[in-house]
């Protein structure tokens, strides 16, 4: 066998109170796509951050082409040809897309930037990636998936010198179309001899592009194998040390009364004529391509954004939300898409984050919080969702997937009846995903209604009772679970199919409704 492109041997890293990595080995060959798997908090990102020079290792060594190297900072890593797409996006919001892509590596002479060449190269790169993003737009104008594409473009900015490319959950915010483009690109790079580390929680992707797989558990190696020699269930049991019988354990609940109804919601330039309903016991899926407006719907019905037009009913009663607090009072909970920006107060501990929406209840009328009340509220949530953290830990110290579970936990702990989940399983490991699905089953069984926005079609198809498909700010189509297939949903999302393919309870209800 030829000399490995990169070897990490015996890597140790501990944070105050946690051993994140405990003697981990990883070997990469040039030209391979090496999948790194593990439950949330297994240490995947930490290992890659050490490679990127973001953290210093406590022990262990790193060899490139057989030679030991010292990676003291991000610049060293770059100089060695290591490129990393981090799990938590790291872009500069106010700078343009083009500048972000070439940040730290802009073409310049004597410190003066060559803008023309910078733009031209950015445009070329973006079109290689097959995305239509304005290179001059400031990044803070982009939606999360677009930012993710910029992040990918940034890692590829000077591919010529890249020998190792790390992708930490690059597709967690992407829809299938962008995923296809990205995979094409990964294959081309691998052919060119780049060693690629690919971290994901989407097991379907593993077999599409991976050559070898390394599984971590609790900061230790479990195994490294050729993917041809493993099965999905084998991987799952390696990661979780248990078997998962069913990946989409949908348990239909009895459908009850209407909980929420939107009628003709609209906001200039963003949403148009959004009408649908959610009934007790129902999971309503919502599909769409990047930027279709799903997040805007979620925000509009939870009081996060104002709407220009339309009406909203909760249990048949017209409501108008001035702030999310009003929606929460009506029993509506929103799990936002971007947990870092909208979901977590990173400096607060886990218990206080979970208790935040329930503060009034925790505190009672006088507004005084009894000692440990929050911890008491949070403890069962931490247990039920298997969050790898203590109630007193700051949430910023948690792994990405565990942070996601904390955000979810905020609503589970309360008495919301209507849940709006925007990408609920983003960055969540396969075991936890199933737990979340089971949680959704429990919620619907108890009479709750759920709007689940997701870019993972299998999960939508597997868990929804109905699926709404959005296209350019409108509801393009609506399917019953039985009528929905991958192809039909996709073509609706692309705007190819007719407006409504199946009978739509919400629309029918609206057509038959008597004014007053």
């Amino acid at each position: 066998m030829e000399r490995p492109a990169l070897t990490m041997a015996g890597i140790r890293k501990s944070f105050p109170g946690v051993v994140a990595l405990d003697g981990v080995d990883l070997t990469l060959q040039a030209g391979e796509v090496h999948v790194l798997l593990g439950e949330n908090g297994a240490g995947k990102s930490t290992l890659m951050k050490i490679l990127a020079g973001a953290y210093r290792r406590d022990a262990g060594e790193i060899l490139m082409q057989g030679r030991p190297v010292d990676i003291a900072g991000p610049r060293d890593a770059r100089a060695l040809g290591i490129r990393v797409i981090h799990q938590e996006l790291s872009l500069v919001p106010s700078l343009s897309v083009a500048e972000n892509i070439f940040l730290g590596a802009a073409p310049s002479r004597f410190g003066v930037i060559d803008w023309a060449s910078l733009r031209a190269r950015a445009i070329r790169l973006l079109s290689d990636l097959g995305v239509a993003i304005d290179p001059d737009a400031p990044v803070n104008r982009l939606a999360l998936p677009q930012r993710q594409m910029v992040e990918i473009a940034k890692a590829l900015a000077d591919q010529q010198s890249a020998s190792v490319l790390v992708m930490d959950e690059p597709t967690s915010a992407l829809t299938s179309r962008e995923v296809d483009v990205l995979f094409g690109l990964i294959e081309r790079l691998a052919k060119r001899g780049v060693a690629i580390v690919y971290i994901t929680h989407r097991l379907d992707e593993v077999y599409r592009i991976g050559h070898r797989v390394t599984v971590l558990r609790d900061g230790r190696n479990v195994s490294t194998a050729m993917l041809g020699d493993t099965s999905v269930s084998g991987l799952v049991s390696m990661m979780a040390n248990r078997d998962l019988a069913d990946h989409y354990p949908k348990q239909p609940a009895p459908i009850g009364n209407e909980l929420l109804r939107a009628e003709g919601l609209g906001r200039a330039g963003v949403l148009e004529d959004i009408s649908f309903s959610i009934r007790a016991g129902e999971i309503v899926g919502m599909a769409g391509l990047m930027g279709a407006g799903r997040t805007d719907v979620a925000r509009a019905i939870t009081g996060a954004d104002r709407v220009d037009r339309g009406r909203l009913f909760v249990r048949g009663r017209a409501v108008s939300f001035r702030a999310p607090a009003d929606a929460i009072r009506e029993g509506i909970g929103l799990l936002p898409e971007d947990r870092k920006a909208h979901g977590l107060v990173a400096l607060l501990n886990v218990a206080r984050n979970i208790a935040l929406p329930q503060s009034r209840k925790v505190a009672g009328p006088a507004g005084i919080v009894p000692r440990r009340a929050e911890a008491a509220l949070a403890a069962p949530v931490i247990r039920d969702l298997r969050i790898k953290a203590t109630p007193d830990q700051q949430t910023r110290q948690l792994s990405g997937g565990n942070q996601q579970k904390v955000v979810l936990g905020k609503w589970v702990a309360g008495d919301a009846r209507i849940f709006v989940f925007d990408e609920p399983t983003r960055g969540v490991d396969i075991g936890a995903k199933v737990e979340i699905y089971q949680l959704m089953n429990r919620l619907t069984a108890a009479g709750a209604g759920i709007l689940m926005i997701s870019s993972e079609l299998p999960e939508l198809l597997g868990m929804s009772d109905r699926i709404l498909v959005m296209h350019r700010g409108r509801i393009q189509a609506e399917f019953t679970a039985a009528a929905a297939t991958q192809e039909r949903v996709l073509s609706a999302a692309l705007g190819l199919a007719g407006p409504v393919l199946s009978e739509s309870p919400a629309r029918t209800a609206r057509a038959n409704r008597v004014e007053g």
Binding site: F15, P16, Y55, R56, T302, A304, A323, P324, A325, I328, R329, L334, P336, A341, H342, G343, L344, V345, A346, L347, L348, R352, L356, P357, S359, R360, V362, A363, G367, I368, V369, R371, K410
Partner: protein, 307 residues
């Protein structure tokens, strides 16, 4: 967080040890009471400032609000109202000015720095205007007792300071409002989406700062037996320094009141010590600047995680 508070406390203790070694006048009961009394005004202002900074804001107007509420108090007392009337009126003035800051910041979505910079100028101008620039002096003993009385051997301002800190600490650690202060400072968007009514709580946070400024003005007026429209100049810098030395992050979301109190004491002890040692005024400025940076540096080094 605990390590951090600890770090600042070490700084205070070291400072005290150094002064104890350098001058026999430092470690006497009367001097320590002296320091506590002198620290009280800055400490009280800094308590409100801590609320504001924890919420991710800043309040430059505290000094001017001290002046404004002070002259409101002075005028009320001179107009013949009893302290039982005049004090609520002056406190209302402070709270109102603070709440106005908060409303402008929240409703107008303006940077706190600018709004409170404007208020700094406006409140000062108003204080000068209503007094025509003259101090209002000479109050009855019943009122002056707020500064001069002693309970046991503890001066009244120190008692007031202790009460303010106990109440504020309770509010910050044990009430929903306190939680919201941290949540808003940590991530305002997330707090809003979690049902925190920002429109209610932001003005309240700045009102707290207005309230503590008014309480400080009360002590100051009693102490000087005079309400001056030019009082409180630069108080904002002292209060911010105390807060930040005490470990509260200017980014918001992180910090404690105990830290702020220690921060205020460090500044008070330092000034007192330099006076006792007879250090020249110019050198004092250099030493104070150095100690401010040094205190935070020690604290940061102690707290720094290995990465």
């Amino acid at each position: 967080m605990k390590a951090r508070r600890f770090g600042t406390l070490i700084g205070l203790v070291v400072l005290c040890l150094v002064l104890w070694a350098l001058t026999p006048f430092f470690l006497t009961v009367s001097n320590l009471l002296n320091i506590a009394e002198q620290t009280s005004i800055n400490a009280i202002v800094a308590a409100g400032m801590t609320f504001v900074i924890l919420s991710g804001g800043i309040d430059l107007s505290v000094g001017s609000i001290v002046a404004l509420s002070g002259v409101v108090l002075g005028l009320s007392l001179h107009a013949g109202y009893s302290p039982a009337v005049a004090l609520p009126v002056m406190i209302a003035a402070g709270v109102l000015a603070g709440a106005t800051n908060g409303l402008l910041i929240d409703r107008g979505r303006l940077p706190p720095f600018i709004v409170t910079l404007g208020m700094m100028s406006i409140a000062r101008g108003a204080a000068l205007l209503i007094t025509e620039g003259r101090p209002i002096s000479g109050f009855e003993e019943s009122f002056r007792a707020l500064a001069t009385a002693r309970v046991g051997f503890v001066p009244a301002p120190v008692l007031i300071m202790a009460t303010v800190y106990l109440v504020a600490h309770f509010v910050l650690t044990r009430t929903t409002f306190g939680r919201y202060v941290y949540a808003i400072g940590g991530n305002e968007d997330a707090a809003r989406l979690s049902g925190v009514r920002i429109h209610l709580h932001k003005p309240a946070i700045y009102a707290v700062s207005g309230l503590t400024s008014a309480l400080a003005a009360m002590i100051l007026t009693a102490r000087l037996n005079s309400a001056q429209p030019i009082a409180g100049t630069m108080y904002e810098l002292d209060a911010i320094a105390a807060t930040v030395i005490g470990g509260t992050s200017l980014m918001g979301g992180e910090g404690t009141l105990a830290g702020t109190l220690i921060g205020a004491l460090i500044m008070g002890v330092l000034r007192n010590g330099l006076n006792l040692l007879g250090v020249s005024s110019f050198l004092q400025q250099i030493v104070i600047g150095g100690v401010i940076v040094g205190a935070v540096l020690v604290d940061t080094v102690l707290k720094r995680p290995r990465t």
